[in-house]
């Protein structure tokens, strides 16, 4: 088990963290591309999904897009984008080599959980609640903003969490096609038979993934409009939809 000792030494060595292809630079690169992709996917996917859920159309597409996203290997899509004439493996601003191809792949793989959960969250708002809103004289837009959206928020937020996990995982895999990010530490380590470096990269990737997930879970709890506290008397109306979409597993 010398490998553990070597990995530990690699992680303790300040040289591993410094420089243009050190751990810090790669970590920032991957965080930047993850954040960009997640924000882009949310801007693209959430309005569409929420609107579809509000008017109750396109359910088949919204639910099945997750299954499609799961069947396409992230590695294959990244490879196709990089090998194509466009976007190819060109440098792209602060995102590094093959930055545009990686960004496109990340957005595509973030969309399915966002769309599915956005749609399902809106549809799971009980119909008698919607009827009550109509009976109170709310317009369709008012019902959307003041009734459906708050009630759908927990499910939508869990979709964002799933998308975040997916994007982080895919951004790591981008290194297999020489893309940016921390995965490069892993693939370079394996390519040079420097398994301590590969392990060290994997440890950092895994720890950051767990931290991101915990932060996202905390944000989700904070955003829940109906925290289940005993003092709140709103509890009796309804508890948030308990059946969320099955966790779209890894897929990457």
């Amino acid at each position: 088990m010398d490998l553990f000792v070597e990995t530990w030494q690699y992680l303790l060595d300040p040289d591993s963290w410094a420089g243009g292809d050190g751990l810090v630079a790669r970590l920032l690169e991957q965080l930047l591309i993850t954040a960009t992709a997640l924000v882009l996917a949310m801007l693209l996917g959430l309005p569409l999904a929420l609107w579809l859920g509000h008017v109750g159309k396109g359910g088949f597409l919204a639910v099945n897009i997750s299954n499609v996203g799961r069947a396409v290997p992230t590695f294959a899509l990244l490879a196709l984008l990089v090998a194509a004439d466009w976007p190819g493996s060109a440098e792209f601003g602060p995102y590094g080599r093959a930055g545009l191809a990686t960004l496109i792949a990340l957005v595509l793989f973030a969309l399915p959980p966002l769309i599915t959960n956005g749609y399902v969250g809106m549809r799971e708002v009980p119909s008698d609640v919607q009827e009550a809103a109509d009976g109170m004289g709310m317009s369709s837009a008012q019902r959307f903003r003041r009734v459906e959206l708050p009630l759908a928020l927990p499910v939508v937020a869990s979709g964002v969490r799933l998308a975040l996990v997916q994007v982080w995982a895919t951004a790591t895999i981008a290194a297999l096609v020489a893309g940016p990010g921390l995965g490069r530490i892993i693939t370079e380590g394996f390519a040079r038979n420097d398994y301590a470096q590969g392990m060290a990269g994997a440890v950092v990737v895994a720890i950051v993934a767990l931290v991101l997930e915990l932060v996202a879970a905390a944000v989700q709890r904070a955003a829940d409009p109906m925290p289940r506290s005993p003092s709140s008397d709103r509890d009796r109306t309804m508890s948030a939809p308990s059946t969320t979409v099955a966790e779209a597993p890894t897929g990457s």
Partner: protein
């Protein structure tokens, strides 16, 4: 690797100068290599799924009895699910080295996390009055599990198995990190050499494999739960 279009009648569609995405000549000339990769891909996927099922069933049955263990199992599975595959495989290398076992165990862990959840959800979906009725008819624990609970949980469990199967097919490609990635090895080679026909063929085969396996599992479910046929 033999080199480029030494072809007699003009460059073939996969020579470096043409480099087409879809090329039937490539599939014919390299069908040995493609078949090997396909077989390896299927073998790794099936081994990982079997490993996942074999561990998931006893774990779920145990977790159902012990609520403490259940929250532990669910927390662990969320953790594993969060770790990217490209990071999980290196973490297994110290134990299993650069072998197919690394990929099988890594993917088995992912499948396990999906399957345990599906089993627990499925068993929880069995109505309590059905259980009571079975107990009243004199069913013991084991017989109730085998004859009443498992069959009723099966639709949910099979849905979980389908999700696990499809995502395991896709994930196997990442095994190319330790040189056991099945079709993923062809994809990696295709990227490194800018070999478009190889890349596209492997990618299409991956998706086709996922569709076929999913279809087979749907058929299996129809056979195992004939009573649901009318409702769908």
């Amino acid at each position: 690797m033999t080199i480029l279009g030494a072809a007699d009648s003009g460059p073939s569609c996969y020579s470096r100068f043409v480099n087409e995405w879809f090329c039937w000549d490539y599939v014919q000339d390299r069908h040995d290599q493609i078949t090997d990769a396909l077989v390896e891909h299927v073998a790794i996927t099936l081994a990982a799924l079997v490993l996942g099922v074999v561990i998931a069933v006893p774990l779920a049955l145990l977790a159902r009895r012990l609520p403490r263990l259940e929250s532990l199992v669910l927390g662990f599975s969320t953790g594993v699910y969060t770790v990217p595959s490209l990071a999980l495989l290196p973490l297994l290398v110290p134990f299993t080295g650069l072998s197919a076992a690394t990929v099988v165990i890594g993917l088995g862990l992912y499948a396990l996390t999906i399957l345990v959840r599906a089993l627990l959800d499925g068993l929880r979906s069995v109505p309590d009055d059905v259980r009571e009725a079975a107990r009243g008819l004199g069913y013991g624990r084991a017989r109730m599990l085998a004859r009443i609970e498992m069959p009723l949980a099966l639709p949910v469990v099979m849905a979980g198995l389908r999700v696990a199967a499809v995502s395991t097919i896709a994930l196997t490609t990442v095994g190319t990190l330790v040189a056991y990635g099945g079709l993923g090895d062809l994809i990696a080679h295709g990227v490194a050499r800018d070999f478009r026909a190889e890349l596209m063929t492997a990618a299409v085969l991956c998706v086709a494999l996922a569709v076929v396996l999913d279809g087979l599992l749907v058929l299996l479910q129809r056979v195992l739960t004939p009573w649901t046929a009318g409702t769908r």
